[in-house]
Subunit: 117 residues, 2 copies
């Protein structure tokens, strides 16, 4: 599921390869949309996903207020849109399609997590 | 996360202990809300969750149209509300709180799936 709602965002942030976006266990109140580049998601050192253009990550901490479930590390120079709680809640309220897209991303992750390692 | 949006539904269906609600790999276009009883979710024979009052299951196939990721078996006589695609889409569009609750349930499942077995 690619989400292209943020493609024209005016304030993407630039992250160089190697940058840490957040660490497993951190408090977090923002999600990120990837406009360009690549971000590895790792749990206890194991890579669970590579997020690229059109992908999002960090939505779980936003949804349930728990610490970050994974570490996010930029692996190819990236432009990311940072989406805080206020914008997230606005989007969910104003744009049901966004909520459905996000649920689709989460369903994909759940299916992947259920695969034998 | 308990979802109580369906507590007053007029048409819950009764399932006896032992009933199979759906099988891993089935096509599926409905989710279920549990008003009473208990439903085991198993993946390749391993129990991943027990869903009880206030819980929902089956939302993944609704969201992404893929086959059922788990088998759902009633383990204690249950009353379930069956939510088809039409009602689901109506709810997501009309009630952002429902979408947020569902995302919270999915985030809980993702966190659980990420735990060491």
């Amino acid at each position: 599921m690619e989400i292209h709602l943020f493609d024209k965002d005016q304030n993407p942030e630039v992250f160089a390869a190697g940058a840490l976006v957040f660490n497993e266990g951190d408090a977090g109140t923002e999600m990120f949309a990837v406009l360009e580049g690549a971000v590895d998601l790792t749990i206890r050192g194991r890579r669970v996903e590579v997020v690229t253009k059109g992908g999002v990550f960090g939505e779980m901490a936003l949804v349930d207020n728990n610490p970050r479930a994974a570490t996010a590390t930029v692996t190819a120079d990236a432009r990311l849109v940072r989406i805080d709680r206020r914008r997230f809640q606005f989007l969910v309220q104003q744009n049901p399609f966004f909520a459905l897209q996000l649920m689709t991303v989460m369903a994909e992750r759940l299916r992947r997590a259920a695969q034998p390692a």
